[in-house]
């Protein structure tokens, strides 16, 4: 794993200095993605999923910044690259798909021009060839009659079609890694199924690695190979998706699964995790989950944090009964 990883994130920390102290939206996160692998990232709102993705692609909004650890792409560090060089890595080696397709598209330019521009920026090809590639990219993501739609503007497409255009844009320079942050959250299930199936096909056929950020456990189960569960900026658990979802080792993962309606069928009541995730200015000592955890003991409330054992970062992993 170590030397074949496409993306390696090691002990990544992100900090936001504020008047009331330093916030840590990403706190000591380590993960890897192999070529052709989809890593799902789940967790409640505010857990730090987007911040992690943004840190990997070097798109943190100041004052947020990487304060520790490193990010390696194909074995080379990218977290300390100068801004201009990182901009080239983004696009060429890392593609991005966000929840709102309009954030990635220029409303004033036909989609074809945007594709051609991106392709020519990253690949040494002629205008003609770039255009042919643009048509092929649109075709590949399932835009019907791609050659005649290439001069259309973003607003002339439906939401699902726009998201396909964004995927075409993210993939046209043939990146090794795609960061997809809630790419289907705003879409209907039928369109979501189309987009997820497309992402899976691209990974399989091209060996692209994907970080798929979502809060939908069903999407995670169907799409990802491995899953990382985040809580209060930290990794609660990471491992093969089937293992983590069916035999969770971390009480938080077990709690989340118990709260998910589809996972607890036939149960009259859903499992409730008491309380809410703490704000970043009030992350408790020791294990961040301890105030909500059914199995917390004195050890959990004190520093140091729980070590990683197996897939989970927990003093008492496994056999969680809820």
């Amino acid at each position: 794993m170590q030397n074949t990883a496409l993306l390696t994130v090691e002990n990544l920390c992100v900090e936001i200095p504020t008047r009331r102290g330093i916030l840590k939206p990403v706190d000591d996160v380590s993960l890897q993605i192999a070529p052709g692998e989809i890593l799902g990232v789940v967790g409640e709102s505010g857990a730090g999923k987007s911040m992690t993705g943004n840190a990997v692609i070097g798109l943190l909004d100041p004052p947020a910044h990487i304060s520790g650890g490193q990010v390696l792409l194909n074995g080379k560090r990218v977290d300390n690259l100068p801004r201009e060089q990182m901009r080239r890595v983004r696009g060429k080696q890392i593609g991005m798909v966000f929840q709102d397709p309009l954030t990635s598209l220029n409303p004033l330019l036909p989609i074809g021009d945007q594709l051609v521009e991106t392709i020519q920026e990253h690949l040494p090809v002629s205008q003609r060839e770039a255009r042919d590639r643009a048509v092929a990219a649109l075709d590949e993501v399932g835009i019907p009659a791609a050659s005649s739609r290439i001069d259309s503007y973003p607003h002339e497409f439906s939401g699902g079609m726009r998201q396909r255009v964004v995927i075409a844009l993210a993939l046209c320079a043939e990146p090794d890694l795609v960061i997809a942050d809630e790419p289907t959250t705003a879409l209907d299930v039928s369109v979501q199924a189309q987009i997820i199936s497309l992402l899976k096909k691209l990974c399989r056929e091209r060996g692209t690695g994907v970080m798929l950020v979502t809060h939908d456990m069903g999407v995670i189960a169907e799409a990802s190979d491995r899953v990382a569960v985040m809580y209060a900026g930290r990794l609660a658990e990471i491992g093969p998706v089937r293992q983590v979802l069916t035999d969770p080792q971390h009480p938080y993962t077990a709690g989340l699964m118990g709260s998910t309606p589809g996972a607890s069928l036939g149960r009259r009541r859903l499992n409730q995790i008491p309380g809410t995730m703490p704000g970043l200015n009030a992350v408790p000592d020791g294990c961040a989950y301890h105030p909500r955890c059914p199995r917390a003991e004195a050890k959990c409330r004190a520093e140091p944090r729980p070590p990683v054992s197996g897939s989970a970062s927990c003093w008492f992993p496994g056999e969680v009964k809820i």
């Binding site: 409640e44 709102s45 439906s158 699902g160 079609m161 209907d188 299930v189 039928s190 369109v191 979501q192 199924a193 189309q194 997820i196 199936s197 899976k200 809060h215 939908d216 456990m217 069903g218 999407v219 189960a221 169907e222 799409a223 190979d225 998706v241 089937r242 979802l245 709690g255 989340l256 699964m257 118990g258 709260s259 998910t260 309606p261 589809g262 996972a263 069928l265 009259r268 009541r269 859903l270 499992n271 409730q272 995790i273 809410t276």
Partner: protein, 322 residues
């Protein structure tokens, strides 16, 4: 059991024409959108009726007609035998209105930020000149918050807590029917679990009836007694929950169920649905689903299928079998 809500031949049309000057210059006729088209359904007292369907299928429009926020263009809605839009006896209308409440998706938008929680909750009762002494405090406790929260403002609460406040307000006038429009769509699964459990408990304790609008099939499966499936403003299938999840009979319901991500379907390869939802201003002729339907025959392009009773279900499809 008796029907609390009787919807018959309900149609709601919106005028989506451009301003008259544009129409004149561009020589365009007026444009109309049939958001709800000839829907018949009944909701039994003390049950949960879930309306599902993709974006734009007309779920919210039906909900708004039921609570009286929108008038029907054709057809009727009777609640406790009273048609709110035709009844001339003001006392009867007033009585029925106080029996109906609505909860919306966004717990942020639907609470006045400048009002104290006490006044927000008591408002529906105060507006009718009722006694509000201690009411908010009692309701806050009923929805799992503290009586002392009555003196706070909405911004001091989390999303899930705000939705509880909305529920408390909906309960204030002692309603029989609550129309819930995507009440948990903006919430994390852990918070959703708390709110869904609360809603189930209240339904049981107070004998409430819910019209539950959602696009999340796992939530439907958890909450509903009866499920109605909408496509382009038309009710295409209705069945008791278990019968529907055991076997959907309408090709659209089948497509929707197949496309929905499943938490136990690790690595499932779905054959994603073909095509897109058509333009609602110019819906397809005959059965609106025919351009995407794998079973469609020539008749489907001409003739709109009637609702037929097939076993436990009512289905609007020429080809569906019992």
């Amino acid at each position: 059991m008796s029907a609390l809500v009787k919807i018959a031949g309900l149609t709601r049309i919106f005028d989506v024409s451009k301003p008259w000057l544009n129409r004149l210059l561009e020589r365009r006729p007026k444009a109309f959108l049939k958001a709800v088209s000839d829907v018949d359904l009944q909701i039994e007292e003390r049950t949960v009726y879930a309306l599902v369907g993709e974006s734009g299928s007309g779920k919210s429009t039906i909900g708004k007609v039921v609570v009286g926020l929108l008038a029907p263009s054709e057809g009727s809605v009777e609640i406790e035998g009273v048609d709110l839009h035709r009844e001339t006896d003001a006392a009867k209308v007033d009585h029925v209105r106080s029996d109906i409440q609505m909860i919306f998706q966004s717990p942020f938008a639907s609470l006045n930020p400048r009002w104290k929680v006490r006044d927000i909750i008591a408002e529906p009762v105060a507006a009718r000149g009722g006694d509000t002494k201690g009411l908010s405090e009692r309701l806050l406790e009923q929805v799992g918050l503290a009586a002392g929260d009555a003196d706070k403002f909405p911004h001091e609460f989390s999303g899930g807590q705000r939705q509880r406040i909305c529920i408390a307000r909906a309960l204030a006038s002692n309603p029989k029917l609550i129309v819930c429009d995507e009440p948990t769509s903006a919430l994390d699964v852990s918070v959703q679990a708390q709110v869904l459990n609360l809603m189930s408990d209240l339904q049981e304790d107070l004998g409430l009836t819910y019209l539950f609008i959602t696009h999340d099939l796992t939530v439907v499966q958890h909450m509903a007694d009866t499920v109605g499936v909408l496509y382009l403003g038309r009710l295409v299938e209705e069945a008791p929950r278990d019968a529907l999840f055991e076997r959907a009979r309408h090709p659209y319901t089948q497509m929707l169920f197949e496309a929905a991500p499943r938490i136990d379907a690790f690595g499932r390869e779905v054959d994603p649905p073909k095509g897109e939802i058509p333009d609602p201003i110019n819906p397809p002729s005959g059965c609106a689903f025919h351009p995407r339907c794998p079973l469609a025959i020539e008749r489907c392009t001409r003739e709109r299928p009637e609702m037929r009773q097939l076993g436990p279900a009512r289905v609007a499809c020429h080809m569906a079998e019992p």
